[in-house]
Symmetry: D3
């Protein structure tokens, strides 16, 4: 059931996060409620169901959560990552001992609803700009330890990813410009020192900065920060296809269509990953 456009994160990457999350939740004595009130031989079937419409992300993490607790439990996927579901839809089932399901329930739901929340918000924006060529893109405004997962969820929602780290592209921002002595000096230095497989992006707040950049040979991409659609249009004209035009700064689902219509290639939004509305997903358990 692999999605050709969304290669899964390897279990290798998920496993340390899930082991830590399970130990964080189980503590030293484990699930003392289940131990106290549920018969140890009770087997159950439980259904993950959406309680609101949305786009799903994180099922590999949910699957692995239960597999780490009990390799013999069985997880089946009905609405894979990147699929958009209605309220009430069956997403996945987990079958196994009641203790396995109840021990892993909260960890699985916490990750699944968080990542699905990111995918859902991304998907909403992707649709809002579908009439344009613009892509929706996240940033490095992610939560500690969760960057790979959060950026995966953006892809599950149909979005694209910006830099993963400080070391995979050069992005010269306002603070760098202030310290480096302006656009021309900074951009020239960056081009001299960048590796040959490293792209250079420059944040510009004004068209003048953009012109300065072009005057010294230009960057591979421009982060056009807090510009109006009209300013963006002018910037796009100046760039003229020789570099990527990326709009950023306070973009919302409402303002996105006009911004995208300016002709920019990318809309990047920090809040896709820093301000996440969890997708409401429930787990309904019945004796098996």
């Amino acid at each position: 059931m692999t999605n050709p456009l969304l290669p899964p994160l390897p279990d290798l990457m998920l496993e340390p996060i899930l082991r830590a999350a399970l130990l964080e939740d189980l503590g030293l004595a484990g699930d003392i409620t289940t131990s106290a009130v549920i018969a140890p031989n009770q087997h159950v079937r439980a259904e993950f169901r959406a309680r609101q419409p949305g786009t799903i992300a994180g099922l590999d993490a949910a699957r692995l959560t239960f597999a780490l607790l009990d390799p013999k439990s069985h997880f089946e996927i009905f609405a894979p990552d990147a699929s958009t579901v209605q309220s009430g839809a069956l997403i996945a089932t987990i079958t196994g001992p009641a203790s396995t399901v109840l021990n892993g329930e909260r960890v699985a739901l916490n990750i699944l609803s968080h990542l699905s929340g990111i995918a859902t918000a991304t998907q909403e924006l992707v649709r809002a700009v579908a009439h344009t060529k613009a892509k929706i893109c996240c940033t490095r405004k992610t939560l500690p330890g969760l960057r790979a997962l959060q950026k995966y969820a953006v892809r599950a929602g149909g979005g694209a990813n910006h830099r993963y780290r400080l070391d995979d592209a050069i992005l010269i921002k306002d603070n760098h410009l202030a310290l480096a002595g302006g656009v021309k000096t900074a951009l020239t230095a960056a081009r001299q020192r960048a590796g040959h497989l490293v792209k250079i992006e420059l944040e510009v707040d004004t068209l003048q900065q953009l012109q300065d950049a072009i005057a010294v040979g230009g960057a591979d991409a421009y982060l056009l920060d807090n510009m109006t659609p009209a300013q963006l249009k002018d910037a796009v004209t100046l760039i003229d296809g020789r570099a990527i035009a990326e709009a950023s700064g306070g973009i919302t689902p409402k303002t996105a269509p006009a911004i995208a219509a300016s002709g920019v290639d990318i809309l990047s939004l920090g809040w896709l990953t820093h301000t996440v509305q969890a997708l409401d997903i429930g787990l309904d358990i019945t004796p098996a």
Copy 2:
């Protein structure tokens, strides 16, 4: 500047999270932008400033982020955790080499704005119910690896914490009741097996369940799930001070006052930690 009502998380607890977050962001080659465009001997002073009103949480994590990069950098706090600030307020400063400040900027901001977002939302709810005795409380709906920090942020916002883990209290929920054979059986089993320092809470959806519980001796606390203020009032009357009354289920800042006025002791809200609106905090860097 220790707040008597908010003991800090020990650095010991923050350090592994911050080391991992820094390595996640620095990758293997580090901050190639700063290396390329900023002179290595450049020193800076940078100010953390609120860009919207809110309640602060996470300054120890921000401080330690920079200290791990450079023990000689200097972090000064102006608006400590739990303080509520206006837009534009100076929260803290970091002074040191430009590379230290720029290498740690994103990690520090990501955590600080996330935790301050939690504190701010909590504080809003605390104020909404300030005319009652009710406390605002979070749940286990936290992000993997961040539970201690997120629950600390709730306290910074004036809220209280529910269970930290599956092993520090018994909470019999609807799924347990379905599998255990009902309120009376489950509650009796729980009391027989609970440790002597472990409290027992029971989730009830109806007054009948509450009466069943009281009939077999009662729980230490009741999670009154998805009840109207009127139902909650009846529940509080039935409980009659012999146990904690906790309301949960779809509570918002708008509905909180009426719910709190029902006489419950606790309002618990999963979204305090699973649906966080990051507080907008910026870092303004100037040469030092």
Copy 3:
């Protein structure tokens, strides 16, 4: 073969401890004796047998030790955790390559004999007070990294567990009282700040302290430290069923019956986990 009264520790919790223990014992070159003197294709069957009577705990750790070395080795349990065996009894068998069995032998025996030693001592005390309602309980006087296992062993021996950590209950001890300004101040502060699912226990050395506590509303439990059976009886009378009465301080199998007969609910003993007499268990290997 799951014991309803003794849910197993999840492998997830045991695995890091066992991996570290195996690497600690194998070093970098591994078991150079077995490599030098045993043919690599030799298969064996080995029996864990008690060399003295006792109560067993730790078989999941023993099983997982060998499974980590070789998933195809076969571990079979004959006397499960919590069972009491005579000298010579067969506890479990491990079948597999000689190198697997010999590589894991010491790690498995070290843990199994340590935990069985705890279970055995606990069981002896449980029997000593079986004519009363008192429970036998351990403390936080455990060895670094082994708390979950040691407390599990106490349960396997029929005992109960006190706090698992500093964060799951409030226990106001003599040092706190000295610094906080006495029973009334400390207890009042604790009640104001405790979470709603957190119990409060107070250590008292005298009946006066107990009366002071009751005068300000009382605690959920009292740790009656170093009292004689007569004093304990008076304390129980004062408490009058409104709180848990826990005796501690120098309790031995000899003194336990009289202490338990005082009417206290709990006898807690640090030495159950800090002064462990390993149960003598041997591993007898024969070619398979």
Copy 4:
């Protein structure tokens, strides 16, 4: 205050054990008792005092426990590792914030009293055989993760260490002999394959086995298992100074003198590390 005969374990080796132990005890919310009842600005001085006579081991671990919680706390040693103290003796002091001292108290005491218990038992045996040349030696019967510390404690008590791991010497035991086809085959194979800096020890239960070993060139050391003093004497005569003679099996302080008088070089005792009676050490805290 470094003891020339007892080089300290590097902090590097202690730190991971202590960090894990502190996090195990602090949980996610930390020391909620101290937070609730002690003023945050309270400073204290606390004394570690022996409550029974014994030999001290583990002060570096105790020191580092507090340093990890607060680098500015001050730990002073009065009775260093390897010193033997009377009941009531001052061992060390810790000065700092009350929260630092109370947060680290249990972890520091658990390790210090465990290791001092090992040192004390070792020292008792060392004295019991002081009239002979025999050394007291521990085995690999240690607790998971604590081998370096427990073996250090044996040295602090005046004892010596056997193998640290399976990979630093060859020790052919009864199980190996059974699988390898007897003393001559096993010993010959071991000599052929042992590294040039690896010693070979052979466990023998009978004088015949010892003669067989000598007949094929002998081992570097013999583990004379469960022999009477008379048998040991005969074995020593047979060995005739060409190898180390080591007695093992059920040695107690009572039987040790006679065993040592047989002329063996080493008495090795598993129970020095697997059956530890913690030394009773208390921490008395006063406001500073």
Copy 5:
């Protein structure tokens, strides 16, 4: 003494590697030779000296090795990273207790001589092509866990870095082409799916493949594999400055000048990091 062209790896990145290396070397009992034969209060001064000419890399790792053993030891640098030294040159000194210096000696030398070996070989190649614009570049053929350090050493030798990981650039190699159905299909797919800050490089073995690539719009860089200088010249002509030309395949110091003279931008060599001749560096210790 920071080199503007060679920003140091943060200690944060080095520390886990060095802690692991020290524990790997110290084992559980530590440096038993030094404990046995050197007085504990002996202080020393030791000099790192080159025993052959070369370029230095790894002094931060050497410094931190000793600092982790003893924060009060003093490390002074005389020939910083990236400097080229003659045989006999003083590189650095370490002053402190003899045990600190001897405990860390091997770990520090192992890393320093390995990284300096890489820097030296890189520098030799850089000089061999100094008459051209070509840069010397390493690959992902590094040793497990050491990639950041080995690539840093290449930079210290004056070289440049290729991809750090599979995730920071697209490099379509022969195996990909075979599976993807040829240059045109693969390159088109890569351009459709690459992030906007991700460069695409294509490995080509023939000029025909290069022409195919250009026909569908071209890549950002071409890896010209195993071509003769004449073929490379033709390839450079075809590329015509629109993309980076990178030569690879069996390049040696002897063949490098001719290859570089073909006009390519980059010479990449796997053996810079996979076949390292350690630089001979000694540590001479004298009492201090």
Copy 6:
């Protein structure tokens, strides 16, 4: 297919190294080239083939690399560790999804070619001294974190291992002698303090030092440093079979035969592990 003379390293030991290496190479976004250009359902068969003659080591690490990525992939060994192959020989095959094979390719090749390089160089030396009794032996000059693997590769090449760590044998080197006051003092101190299963080796540069050592009872082994074959012969005569004679210092395949012919037992060479020429091994992938 276990080699009786070469017991495999347990997966337990390899797994942490391989997990870290895979995460180092995959980064956070994984293999973006394969994701972009290869169909997700493509299965392949890939052959590891030697591109030059050599001796193989590291196939367990290669196997486990792919198993960690996908437990269902199939790894088959054709030329096991310790076998010597011709150029072009098939070493092993891996069958599975293209993404599994391509994700693990570099990590598997990096380790396999490094360890095979060590085995190949060792084997060349073993053959060079095959006419003598001398063994070829490595040192502690290994790379951080890779000591167990590198020393295993030496064994795969037919060599032997010296100390694994500072704690498994005493080796008194020139620096120790300088600080300890000469051969007699150092050797006497070492013998007094060495554990009974610890051998003592002494580095000597001159025959006088050797005579001094013998005069005080001698060591178990002598490291004869930088001696000519003639000097070595004299040393061997002096030692007269009472201890191991080990030659070290600048030994090459050319000088090895004459050195070995001097009668020494051991030739030890640091460069076997510090200056490794990777064996050229390729992975040829075809659709399956």
